[in-house]
């Protein structure tokens, strides 16, 4: 715990020092100094940034949760049932590269301008990342792992709950980490419509207004949110994969 805190402080120090150095070298409003940004950050945190952050956090959480609920079972089945995997892999290979941004109008027509379509956009993008990662994880389970359960005449339910899920849990968590980063990027084209709340909106708006201090404050906020969720996933891994 204590060592973790030291690592964290070291990491922060390195990051901020690097940023500061760059800002000194370039001396342009595009790259403001971290000091000015942190000043701004704390100035607007209670009045604005906090609310925006909560909105984004809720959308990210809902998006990831829904993607897991949809993607993990599909990925598990694609990895385990080789027939199903063989037929559905090409479907995923065709659908995943479809640029979801281009589908934004369709999603908005179907789900309106509210929360539903924002979360749907997050899901549309990261669900494929989860499917692919989980599928590959299940495919990587050595076949010997199944022998005990086969010889016990285990039903599919048990094969999933006792082998496939625990064996692929680390990769599910990896896919959550990757998905988190992606979900945050997605905020930039989902929080710009139909809302005036969310860090995505906040940053885009600040950018439009050429207010780089506010824009960077928003970026710092996202960075903190991301770090917090990543750390939470690490803790979850620690608890869930005790056997490692």
């Amino acid at each position: 715990m204590k060592r973790k805190r030291i690592d964290l402080i070291a990491a922060l120090a390195v990051l901020i020092a690097a940023w500061y150095a760059i800002s000194l070298i370039w001396r342009m409003p595009i790259i403001p100094s971290p000091i000015a940004v942190f000043y701004k950050f704390f100035e607007i945190l209670p009045s604005k940034l906090g609310v925006h952050a909560l909105y984004s956090l809720w959308r990210i959480a809902a998006g990831i949760a829904l993607s897991l609920v949809i993607g993990v079972p599909i990925g598990l089945c694609m990895g385990y049932f080789s027939e199903f995997g063989r037929i559905s892999s090409p479907v995923v290979y065709f659908l995943y590269p479809i640029p979801k941004i281009a589908l934004l109008p369709v999603v908005m027509l179907l789900l309106g301008l509210g929360e539903a379509s924002k979360i749907a956009m997050i899901v549309l993008i990261i669900v494929f990342q989860i499917i692919v990662t989980v599928r590959d994880a299940v495919k990587g389970i050595p076949k010997e792992m199944y022998y005990s359960l086969i010889s016990l005449g285990a039903k599919r339910g048990n094969i999933f709950s006792d082998i496939i899920i625990p064996a692929s849990l680390p990769e599910v968590l990896t896919s959550m980490r990757v998905g988190l980063g992606t979900a945050i990027s997605v905020l930039f084209f989902t929080e710009t419509f139909g809302t005036e709340y969310g860090i995505g909106y906040f940053i885009m708006d600040a950018w439009m207004r050429v207010n780089y201090l506010e824009m960077y404050s928003g970026i710092v906020m996202l960075s903190i949110i991301g770090f917090a969720v990543f750390s939470a996933i690490d803790v979850a891994e620690h608890i869930l994969c005790r056997w490692k």
């Binding site: 010997e144 005990s148 016990l152």
Partner: protein, 255 residues
């Protein structure tokens, strides 16, 4: 009654096909124990995998009580050569896995008795990667015994145990067998073990495995085997069976 008739199993490798068992036949009467002995790589594990429903693609007829292999119907206790423990389950969870899968409550007294005799009671909360080799093997033994199976398939079940522990395991196995009369195929590398626990002993040829010979074993369950002359003769007979082929093969290779 287990009947294996003309079983041939092949594995595909990147460059060619390996025949592991070739026209192999064997019968196990209900409640019998067959010790299977044969050179390394002759197909013993393959045979057990077929009987446990793990390998599906084979030639020949494999019937358990007149019906094809189906682990959901049959109650198969399998001790795999590499133990087959699930790394994310504790010793306890691994040991009771059979009952969990069968959806049955555990007979607590019996379970405790088994875990105790196997010396596992102190490590029920540990994970397999926190055990020694022999301890892992004992967990696998515990799992198959706790299940109270109808058919016990043991693949070198005591290979990682020291001689003292091994002997007490052999006795435990025979105790259980006497009580429940479970039909058993017992793969072993030790002739002594085969003679001690096998009511019949089947000797296989080197790869691809066929039945080389079958021996009715009058010495089954006899204590202090080593001291008896009968054991010496029996053991010599088995060794001769095992060796013959080796020499044949050696010759075949040289000529």
């Amino acid at each position: 009654m287990i009947s294996v008739e003309g079983l041939t199993v092949r594995y595909g490798t990147g460059n060619g096909i390996v025949e592991a068992l070739s026209d192999f036949s064997i019968k196990v009467a209900d409640g019998d124990i067959i010790a299977v002995i044969g050179p390394s790589g002759c197909g013993k594990s393959t045979l057990l995998h077929v009987l446990a429903g793990i390998i599906g693609g084979y030639e020949g007829a494999v019937l358990i009580n007149g019906r094809p292999v189906n682990p959901t119907e049959q109650r198969i206790g399998l001790i795999l050569q590499d133990y087959g423990l699930l790394p994310w389950k504790t010793v306890y969870e691994n040991a009771v896995l059979g009952l969990k899968i069968k959806g049955e409550a555990s007979d607590k007294t019996y379970m405790k008795y088994i875990l105790d005799r196997l010396g596992l009671v102190d490590m029920l909360d540990r994970y397999p990667n926190q055990l020694s080799g022999g301890q892992r093997q004992r967990v696998a033994i515990a799992r198959s015994f706790i299940l109270k199976p109808d058919l016990l398939l043991m693949d070198e079940p005591f290979s990682a145990l020291d001689e003292i522990t091994r002997e007490s395991m052999q006795d435990l196995f025979l105790d259980i067998w006497r009580q429940y009369r479970v039909s058993t195929l017992f793969v072993t590398h030790s002739i002594e073990e085969a003679v001690y626990v096998g009511r019949r002993i089947v000797v296989l040829t080197p790869s691809p495995g066929r039945v080389k010979g079958e021996i009715e074993n009058p010495l089954f369950g006899m204590n202090d085997l080593r001291l008896s002359d009968d054991f010496y003769h029996m053991s010599m007979r088995i060794r001769r069976m095992l060796r013959e082929d080796e020499e044949n093969i050696d010759e075949a290779q040289t000529h």
